[in-house]
Structures are given as structure tokens and as C-alpha cells.
């Protein structure tokens, strides 16, 4: 279980097992999507599998995640998603009306994201070998000329912007799954981000890094960027917007909202000259209405992510573990 959590263990699997096994430079980039040259075009290409429980939750479903997740991974290369594949792995005995509702959600989400589901596959596994429905989507899209968005491009001085409040998706899914009453006001933020990214690129093609902080949350994304670029990242602990009910739920559960998954947010590293304009463009877009500057890229502490507290002290934001284990002795 632990190896899919978007934390230290996933990173170790990738670094120690998959990357050496596949052995090619494209994969070595470790970004959400690969950018490939094919027939003179620059294509972004990505795949992701979806195993979320429950299948339906406040604000969305596994179908929405399957579409938005891959669309967003492509968007993080600056690409507008064009075509998706979609594969179902169904557990024998799964209620067909449920499958139908998921398919419907996929269709609706695809329309909203402006992407075409072009191919698909269905497999059925024996009862007990699956968990109702697993989905896999892959997608391709074109990367506009002059755009080069990669985690390695983060540079000291870059302004770090998040597109909206964080933590809602993870808390919504958790409270739904565990039947915890954190209030109906916590709703998943799942959304396609292609349009928002296009609006940002319209301001400047020179966005350095984009990342959708899904599993492992904001902290995981920032750590991946700090590691890949070898720069330090400092964020203001109170600059990151966290919805009040999300903060309350996290406090109760002993979770840090910076480590909770999002499905409709992005974090952007923007050269300082363009930061104000990009922020303004984001706020003009429905998916970026809550955008905020949360920090900067710094030359100090390369590879480390640090949150500055209101007291002026710092808190190290390490790559998350699968479980948030207490350190208190």
C-alpha cells in the first residue's frame, strides 16, 4: 500500500526500481507527463491509474478524477489535452448501474475539459481480486512552441503561486470514506486545469514549473521540485490558503493540510518579472480565483522545502511518508 502514497516510498520505487529498469532519458525527468518529439510536433504524454475509495464523494467521483487527473498531468507540461484512452478494471459482480454512473461522469468531465476519449479497454477480474472499479487513463496533447515547463527549471527568485485553497479533496474523500462528519462544506476540488494553464501561458510562455499537488499534497510537489532543480523553496506557512473546515478536520486527525491530496489545484514557479501578471490572469480564471503567492525559490538550503511560521521560525517540510507518524517522544 505504502508505495503508492506519493511520498518517500513512491519516490524510492521510481528512483531505484523503475527508472533503472526502463533506462531512458525521457523517463528520467520524473515529471507528471513526458514531452516527446514526434513527427515534428511536441507531444505531452501521460498515464495514471485511479483506485480511489469511495467511488463517489462530495464534489466528484472516480470518473472525474480519471479524466481531470490525466488532463492535469498534461497541463503541467503546458499542453492542452487532446485525446484520452480510458481502461476499466471491473471486479466481477460490480453493479452495472454504478459502472454506468462512472462512465457518465467520465463523459461529462471529458466535455468540460475539452478532451476526446478516443480509445478504451475493459477487463473483469474475479470477485475479491479488485475493489469494484479501477480506472486507467492515458492522454496526449500538444505542447505550444516556446514552452518548456519542467521541475528542473525552478530557479532562485522564482515566485511560487498556488491556484487556490489546498486540502479539500483529500479531506472530502477521507471523511466520506470513513463516515466522519466534517461537514458537508468540504467538497473535492477536482477540476480540469488546461484552461487555467492556457490563460497563464497567454501572459508569458516562460513559466518555469507547473505541478498538480495530488498525492502527498503541496509538500510532496514542492519537494519533488526542490530535489529536481537543486534549489531551496521557502513558503509562508500562513500564505497558503487552507479552507477553515479543512484546517479543522486536519487538526482533529493530526494531519498537515500541506500533505493532503488535491485534484484541481496547481502550483506554479514563475519568474519574478511575470509573477504579478500571471497571478492576475489566474485570478481572472474560474479555476484560479483563489490563487495566491505562497513563497519563493531561494538559493539557501538547496533541495529543502521550508515553511516560515508567523513567529519567524521555520518548519522543514520533508517528503511525506505514507502515514503521518508522530515524532513526539
Amino acid at each position: 500500500m505504502g508505495h503508492g502514497g506519493g511520498g518517500l516510498l513512491s519516490a524510492e520505487l521510481m528512483t531505484h526500481l523503475f527508472a533503472p529498469a526502463y533506462g531512458n532519458e525521457t523517463l528520467a525527468g520524473l515529471a507528471d507527463s513526458a514531452v516527446l518529439s514526434l513527427g515534428g510536433a511536441r507531444l505531452a504524454f501521460s498515464t495514471d491509474s485511479y483506485v480511489v475509495r469511495p467511488l463517489f464523494f462530495p464534489g466528484g467521483s472516480i470518473g472525474d478524477l480519471a479524466v481531470n487527473g490525466t488532463v492535469n498531468d498534461l497541463a503541467m507540461s503546458g499542453a492542452r489535452a487532446a485525446y484520452l484512452s480510458c481502461a476499466f478494471i471491473l471486479e466481477e459482480g460490480t453493479d452495472l448501474t454504478v459502472v454506468g454512473r462512472v462512465a457518465q461522469a467520465i463523459g461529462t468531465a471529458a466535455v468540460a475539459a475539452g478532451v476526446t476519449v478516443a480509445t478504451g479497454d475493459t477487463k473483469v477480474v474475479e470477485t475479491g481480486h479488485g475493489d469494484g472499479i479501477y480506472l486507467n487513463t492515458a492522454g496526449i496533447g500538444l505542447v505550444p512552441a516556446g514552452v518548456d515547463i519542467r521541475p528542473q527549471r525552478a530557479t532562485p527568485g522564482d515566485v511560487v503561486i498556488v491556484s487556490g485553497p489546498v486540502g479539500a479533496h483529500g479531506v472530502a474523500v477521507l471523511s466520506m470514506r470513513e463516515g466522519l462528519e466534517f461537514g458537508a462544506d468540504v467538497v473535492s476540488d477536482t477540476a480540469p486545469l488546461g484552461g487555467l494553464v492556457a490563460a497563464m501561458l497567454a501572459v508569458t510562455p516562460d513559466l518555469h514549473v507547473l505541478r498538480d499537488p495530488t498525492r502527498g499534497g503541496l509538500a510532496a510537489s514542492l519537494n519533488e521540485i526542490a530535489t529536481a532543480s537543486g534549489t531551496g523553496i521557502e513558503i509562508g506557512e500562513r500564505s497558503v490558503p487552507v479552507p477553515e473546515p479543512v484546517a479543522a478536520a486536519c487538526a482533529f486527525l493530526g494531519l498537515d493540510p500541506f500533505y493532503v491530496a488535491n485534484e484541481g489545484r496547481l502550483v506554479a514557479f514563475v519568474p519574478p518579472d511575470h509573477a504579478d501578471a500571471v497571478l492576475a490572469a489566474m485570478r481572472d480564471h474560474p479555476q484560479g480565483a483563489g490563487a495566491a503567492v505562497i513563497g519563493t525559490c531561494v538559493p539557501e538550503h538547496p533541495g529543502l522545502v521550508v515553511a516560515r511560521t508567523p513567529l519567524g521560525t521555520t518548519r522543514l517540510l520533508d517528503l511525506p511518508l505514507t502515514e503521518q507518524l508522530p515524532r513526539i517522544c
Binding site: E178, G254, L316, R327, C329
Partner: protein, 833 residues
């Protein structure tokens, strides 16, 4: 030159240990001169080197006295002799060579001379301080060969004035004369200074330097008397000081430091003041007034209400120290000075969670929101060093260091076996690292919570500095197995850069190894290790903390542990003992009676959420923590429901028990059973390889199946029943049920608290007997932060000793995570025989 006759011999003597900066060369000079020996003495890279020449009798006597009567601050670890040809080179008379030649640089790692710890001002210096006729009257930096700063001002080896932060203060003519005179108390006292040539003390208020020298001190005292918070630069960094009897000042300091209810240490003007505040035994007095001058935890006097309740709310103890520098003395005022506060809160000058501030410019910014004024000086602090905290055991008068820092570092801990040069990075909270080589282990000063970047930087500097001062370059790294520890992650990053091998050690195994190493036990034969603390990462991915391990060599077997209970929300449960109490009740099958204090402490919504969370095991971690069991009982009895600082609930529960301790002899009984997963040998393993194995997770539904613990077997006292098979599971359920019963019967809370403390001790003794019956091991070692609890420590030791066990406890190494690094070192760096 060749005046030597047949009857003259010459001997070269090399003395190792803490022999520089302690007046060793003048001592050798006096010794040699008194015996009419000729020759020389000098500081070398290995220690002190002397050549003496004279009659065979006189030379022999010299060597005897060298061992028998070293100066007070010296710690002679080894004296080596070598006969050399008489009359070779040196003239008549005995010389102190002051240029350190470095000709004897053949010392191996760790063989070099050791800088002594910082030492409280000596009686002679204090006399001069108060003597209007003395040229150092009221000089805040008066010091001599026998006292003053050492470790905190050393910049390099060998320890000489040029290698201290006093290098910035050229000696005046008179100081230079004293420094050069072998007959003077200040001969080669590196920090020597006087009002003409020494550092200056200054007072800064509102960004302006308002006063200097005696006026600065007088004004600071006046400000303190008026309720101000003053940042005071001491030996190892800044303190924040305020009048401890001024409720408003203490409350302001608490609020500005965002410190919650955590007790503050105080500095009393003198011993008499300390004795009005707290009970001081003879052994405690000796530690309090000794040259290490730590904070001593003393039992508060019930009637000492004049010290503001804000200082140490809820604690039965008050941490007291006495003025240990001349500057502190002057701050309280000499006889006849305008009076000021007699008891000052003296807490580390830092922002919450950060290391102690040492830099003057940084002090002005980092403490800007906290201090009203800054009393500082221009002698730089090279090595940050917090105050040490010790407790004196009432049973045997021995000292247990709870925080090992000023006055103790860098004194090495002797090891029972040689180790290869290694760096153990310690734990994550209360971090202290430990460097080892040969048969020595050097702890760094207290570093703090590794969750802050500043602390990690401070950690790096401390590691580099300790390396430089000991000459040890670590060849391997040791860290805790906890994958989320910042200390372990630092070690991983370091290992990746340097290629040093990294070895990971299970937390409680390290605790046990630390207490064994400190007591000189090599662990060849199996030893029963009792490791009780709040949290440590277990081999099975659960949170351990109530462990009885069989330790042998570098292996251990988990012989017994507390029954797993789901800890709802990890850190959230730690901060809310009432939730831990409710989780424990539920695990024990006891209903959440709304009349129980822990249930009453929660709003209905919190109860509902918690119940659901425990039902589902959402964000729950299984734990066998003894610290959490103390939390649970503290809340169950209404003592503490929300913890504002680490171990608050346990401290307050101990305070309750202390009220009736000695008058209440009852004890509850734990249940016992067998558990799975408790019987495999684990060992300190290798660090991250090319591909880490799968991490065993606790799984989605952490609580044990109800049947796993099986029928309860009560160990009768003295029983030697063998317990075969998997490890023993100690079930707190029956204890909790009995407490609920006592609460319903109206039994006073202190009585319940005492019965609980004794229950834990009785269970420890029973488990140790079972372990002895199974393995023959008859040594029991106690470690882990829970043994900072004086009552438990005392009771466990007494019961075990009465049962014929050899009991090993911590003394100079903290039982908590501040001592962890020593165990990590002992388990990973043992040299091949």
C-alpha cells in the same frame, strides 16, 4: 649540558585526557620544581608532554603525584612513560614551553587532548569580584585557570588563547604578566582578562546602546525589578530573564515565547533563596553549588507561593540553578547594591522550537518580539550551549542528567568496548548527536527539535565542531529507523554525498544500548532492557514505547510490550490526552461513561467523531507507548486533558502521585498474555541499499484482534513461571477498569495516581522475572523518557533490586531521546575485536 651523572634518569611523560585549559602545566611545573627535577612541559596534540630529569626516586615520585593530585578540572585518562637519555638537550631548571610545537602528532582518532567543559566561577574569582581593592572588582569576566568558559569559547585545538574567542582581546601588560607567571593562578588561563583589556558588557534598549559596564548591569537589574524581560548573554548563548515573582512579567514572557504551560527554570541569587523555594538535600546542594552548575529539579516547597504560579504550573518540581558566571552575580547585585529580583526566570533565548541564540546581531532580531532589553557583551560564543538539567535521585543520591549540555560537554563518556570513528545523529526531539572513536563517546550539547531548519543547521555546526575539537572524522553514520525523522533524513542526505555507510537502529534498542554503554556493560550476555517512552518507530511499523527487550550484542528480541491501542490521529492524540484515554477505554472494552473526566472533557461532537474514527481506524496508528498510557491515566483521572507541552500529562500525574507517595502502598494489576510478532530477533541493519525492501505497514485496521491477548496470567510476586513462545503482552485493560472503579468509589485522585505508578513498577518487575526465568539474564537496564519520572524510576529500581536484579540506570547520559545517540553509536560502530 652533559652534567648528568650515573644517578640521574630522564623520563618522557605523556598525559592524556582533559589536561589542557585546566592549569595542568603550572601544576607539573610546581611538582617538578618541588622535587628538584629539571626538564620541560608543553601542550601537544596528544595532551600534555613533559620530560623530567633527576634522581630515580624523585622521577618516580613525580609520576605518582601526577596521577594522584591533578588540578580540580583535569580528567587524567592515561599517563604514558618512556625513558630517554639523561641530559639530552634541556638545561638546568624546569621550563614551561608555551609554543606548542606539534612534534607529537602521532595521535590516532580521539587520542587528542580534550577541552574541559565550562565551569562555574570559582571561590577565588568571586572573592576578587566582590573586593573593592582588587583590580578585577566588578569585572564581569573574571576567571582563572580553575574556572570560567572553555568549550563555548574554543575555536580550534590545541586549546590556547589564539584558539579561543578571547583572541580578539590582546592582554594588557598586567594580565600578560599573570598569564606568563607559572606561580600565578592565571598562568595560561586562556580567557584571562581585566577591566583594562577584557570584553565589555553593554545594555541595549529600543535599538540604542544605553549603558556599558557596571551601569549596564545596574540598569538591567532595575529593568528586571520593574517587570521587564531582558535578554542576557551568558556562557553558551542568550537567556531570556524576568523576575520570577512578578506574575505579569512571567505571563508576558510565556505569551511572547508562545510557550504554553511548560515550566521555566529559575536562577536564584544564592543557595539560601533556593532553599526557601524548594527542598534541597545534601546531594542536591552539592550538585547545585558544584562546578557544573546545572539546572537542578527540586521538589517545590508547598508554601513557596511567592514564586509566581506561572513559573512551573502543574509541576511538583522547580528547576533551579545558581549564578554561574560573574556576570550573573553582578546582575543580582553585590552586597550593598540597590536590590533587584532574587529569583529570575532564566529560559533559553530562542524562538519556539529554534536553537539558542548566540550571535549578538541575531539576538536583536530573533528576540525582538520577546525581549525589552539586551544585556550583552563582545566575547563571542563559539559553541552554543544550553543549560543542563539534572535530577538527584532520593534513593541513592545519584545524579541523572536529563539534558546534557553546559558543564558536561564535551566530557567524553567512556565506552565498554572500542568503536570505529562514527557519528550517531540521535533522535528528532531534544536532539543531541554523539561522536565516537576508540573507547570514547562525545555528546554534542543539546540541539533541540530537528523540525526547524535553524536546528538542522545548528546540528551540522555542532557535528563539525565536535569533529574538529576531538580530531575524529566519522567513517560511518548511525540514525533512528523512523523514516520521518529529520535527523535520519539528514543522515541519508549526508551518506549520499560522502559515501559514508548509514546504519539504522531501532529506537528502543538504542535506548537500552545507551544505558548499557553508559554503565560499562558490553552486552555479551543477554540483558533485560526496559525502554519506556512516548514514541519510537517499531520494527513492525507501529509506534512502540512500552518495551521490554532482551538485548545481546547488537541483537535484540522484543520480550514484552504494552498491548497495542490505536492512537487516534497520531500527534493529535499526543496533544489531547483525553482522546488517548478514550481510545484506551475502548480498547479495554470499557464504556465511555459521560461521568468520567476524560469523556466530560470532550464536546459531544468530538466524542462522536472520535468514536467513528476509532471504529474505522481512520488516521489511527497502533501504539504500545507507555508515555501514552500515562497520558490516558492522567486524563481518565481528570488531571490533564490537553497537553500544552511534551509529557505535561505525565508530569502532572506524577505530581498527583507524589502527594501521597510513601503513604499509599496499593497497586493495580496489569493483565498479561502472549502476542504475535513479539518474538523475532532484530538487529541494527544496513542503511538504504539500492532497493529498500517493502516497508511493513500497520495495515488499515490496527487494533489487535480482541482474542489475541488471551487469558490474563497474573504473575504472583516471586513467581518464576517461564513464559515460552511469543512475547508477553502487558494489558493495561484491568488497570483502567480498576481505576474506573476507584473513581466511582470516590478514591482520591492522588491515591489512584500512586497506585498506577506502582502498578507499572510491579509489572516491570514481573516481566523482568519472567525474562530471567526464561533466559537467566539477571541484569535489568532502565531507559527511555518515561524514566525521567522520578517516582517510577525509584520504584522500578527498588522492586528489581529487592528481587535480586542488578539494576542499571542512567546517570550522566539522559534517559530520554537526548541520550539516544550513544545507543546508536554502541550498536553500529563496535570495532571488530
Amino acid at each position: 649540558m652533559t652534567s648528568g651523572t650515573v644517578s640521574r634518569v630522564r623520563r618522557r611523560v605523556t598525559v592524556r585526557g582533559t589536561v589542557q585549559g585546566v592549569g595542568f602545566r603550572p601544576f607539573v611545573h610546581r611538582l617538578a620544581s618541588g622535587l628538584a627535577l629539571s626538564g620541560f612541559v608543553r601542550n601537544g596534540a596528544q595532551g600534555v608532554v613533559a620530560e623530567v630529569e633527576g634522581t630515580p626516586e624523585a622521577v618516580a615520585r613525580f609520576c605518582e603525584l601526577l596521577r594522584e593530585r591533578p588540578p580540580p578540572l583535569a580528567d587524567v585518562r592515561e599517563v604514558a612513560y618512556e625513558d630517554v637519555p639523561a641530559g639530552a638537550g634541556a638545561g638546568e631548571g624546569f621550563l614551561i614551553e608555551t609554543t606548542d610545537t606539534g612534534t607529537d602528532t602521532d595521535s590516532g582518532p580521539g587520542g587528542g587532548p580534550l577541552i574541559p567543559p565550562d565551569t562555574a566561577a570559582c571561590a577565588d574569582c568571586l572573592r576578587e569580584l566582590a573586593d573593592p581593592a582588587d583590580r578585577r572588582h566588578r569585572h564581569p569576566f573574571v576567571t582563572c585557570t580553575y574556572c570560567g568558559p572553555r568549550f563555548t569559547i574554543a575555536t580550534a585545538l590545541p586549546y590556547d588563547r589564539a584558539s579561543t574567542t578571547m583572541a580578539a582581546f590582546p592582554l594588557c601588560r598586567r594580565c600578560a604578566a599573570e598569564y606568563a607567571d607559572p606561580a600565578d593562578r592565571r598562568f595560561h588561563a586562556q580567557p584571562v582578562a581585566c577591566p583594562d583589556c577584557g570584553p565589555t558588557v553593554r545594555l541595549t534598549v529600543g535599538g540604542r546602546q544605553e549603558a556599558a559596564g557596571g551601569q549596564a548591569l545596574a540598569r538591567a537589574r532595575r529593568l528586571l525589578a520593574r517587570g521587564a524581560i531582558v535578554a542576557v548573554k551568558g556562557l553558551g548563548g542568550y537567556h531570556l530573564a524576568c523576575d520570577a515573582t512578578d506574575g505579569r512579567a512571567v505571563a508576558a514572557l510565556r505569551a511572547r515565547k508562545e510557550r504554553g504551560g511548560k515550566p521555566f527554570a529559575v536562577m536564584c541569587a544564592d543557595l539560601a533563596t533556593a532553599e526557601r523555594l524548594a527542598h534541597v538535600s545534601a546531594a542536591e546542594r552539592a550538585v547545585l553549588t558544584g562546578r557544573r552548575a546545572p539546572v537542578v529539579l527540586l521538589r517545590r516547597r508547598e508554601g513557596a507561593a511567592w514564586i509566581d504560579a506561572q513559573v512551573c504550573p502543574g509541576s511538583p518540581d522547580v528547576g533551579v540553578m545558581l549564578p554561574y558566571t560573574p556576570l550573573h552575580r553582578l546582575l543580582f547585585g553585590l552586597p550593598g547594591d540597590p536590590p533587584g529580583p532574587r529569583v529570575l526566570v532564566m529560559t533559553s533565548g530562542n524562538r519556539s522550537g529554534e536553537p539558542i541564540v548566540t550571535d549578538d546581531a541575531e539576538a536583536l532580531t530573533a528576540l525582538a518580539g520577546i525581549a525589552d532589553a539586551w544585556l550583552w557583551h563582545d566575547r563571542a560564543v563559539e559553541g552554543p550551549c544550553d543549560d543542563s538539567v539534572v535530577r538527584v535521585r532520593p534513593d541513592d543520591g545519584s545524579e541523572v542528567v536529563l539534558r546534557r549540555s553546559r558543564g558536561y560537554v564535551p566530557e567524553p563518556v567512556g565506552l565498554p568496548f572500542p568503536v570505529v570513528p562514527a557519528l550517531a545523529v540521535g533522535g528528532d526531539l531534544k536532539n543531541a548527536l554523539c561522536l565516537g572513536a576508540g573507547d570514547s563517546a562525545w555528546f554534542s550539547p543539546h540541539i533541540g527539535d530537528m523540525g526547524a531548519l535553524e536546528t538542522v543547521r545548528s546540528f551540522e555546526r555542532a557535528a563539525a565542531r565536535l569533529s574538529a575539537l576531538t580530531g575524529v572524522t566519522p567513517g560511518l553514520l548511525a540514525a533512528d529507523r523512523h523514516p520521518g525523522y529529520h535527523s535520519a533524513r539528514w543522515a541519508r542526505r549526508r551518506a549520499a554525498v560522502t559515501g559514508q555507510p548509514l546504519r539504522l537502529v531501532q529506537h528502543h534498542h538504542a535506548h537500552v544500548a545507551a544505558v548499557l554503554a553508559e554503565n560499562g556493560v558490553s552486552g555479551t550476555d543477554p540483558v533485560i532492557g526496559v525502554a519506556f517512552d512516548g514514541t519510537g518507530y517499531g520494527e513492525d511499523g507501529a509506534v512502540w514505547g512500552g518495551e521490554v527487550l532482551l538485548a545481546r550484542g547488537t541483537d535484540f528480541r522484543r520480550f514484552a510490550h504494552l498491548r497495542y491501542v490505536p492512537l487516534p490521529g497520531g500527534n493529535a492524540a499526543v496533544a489531547n490526552p483525553c482522546r488517548t484515554a478514550l481510545a484506551h477505554l475502548r480498547a479495554a472494552g470499557l464504556p465511555w461513561d459521560p461521568a468520567l473526566p476524560c469523556a466530560a472533557a470532550c464536546a459531544p461532537g468530538e466524542l462522536r467523531l472520535l468514536e467513528r474514527q476509532l471504529d474505522r481506524g481512520a488516521a489511527c496508528v497502533p501504539t504500545s507507548s507507555m508515555g501514552r498510557l500515562f497520558d490516558a491515566v492522567a486524563s481518565l483521572t481528570g488531571v490533564c486533558h490537553r497537553a500544552g507541552y511534551e509529557a505535561q500529562a505525565a508530569i502532572e500525574l506524577e505530581a498527583a502521585a507524589a502527594r501521597v507517595w510513601g503513604r499509599e502502598g496499593g497497586a493495580y494489576a496489569f493483565g498479561t498474555g502472549r502476542g504475535a510478532g513479539a518474538g523475532t530477533f532484530g538487529a541494527a541493519g544496513p542503511g538504504p541499499g539500492p532497493m529498500p525492501g517493502p516497508m511493513p505497514g500497520p495495515g488499515p485496521n490496527p487494533p489487535y484482534p480482541p482474542g489475541e491477548s488471551g487469558p490474563y496470567l497474573a504473575y504472583a510476586p516471586g513467581s518464576t513461571d517461564s513464559v515460552p513462545g511469543p512475547g508477553v503482552v502487558l494489558d493495561p485493560g484491568p488497570v483502567l477498569a480498576a481505576i474506573v472503579g476507584d473513581l466511582r468509589r470516590g478514591v482520591p485522585v492522588p491515591v489512584i495516581a500512586a497506585r498506577f505508578h506502582r502498578a507499572v513498577a510491579v509489572a516491570v518487575a514481573a516481566v523482568c522475572r519472567a525474562a530471567r526465568a526464561e533466559t537467566g539474564a539477571d541484569t535489568a537496564a532502565l531507559s527511555g523518557g518515561v524514566f525521567g519520572n522520578a517516582l517510577l524510576d525509584q520504584e522500578c529500581a527498588a522492586l528489581l533490586a529487592a528481587d535480586g536484579f542488578t539494576v542499571l540506570r542512567h546517570r550522566r547520559v539522559p534517559p530520554g531521546d537526548g541520550g539516544l545517540a550513544l545507543g546508536q553509536l554502541a550498536l553500529t560502530a563496535r570495532a571488530e575485536p
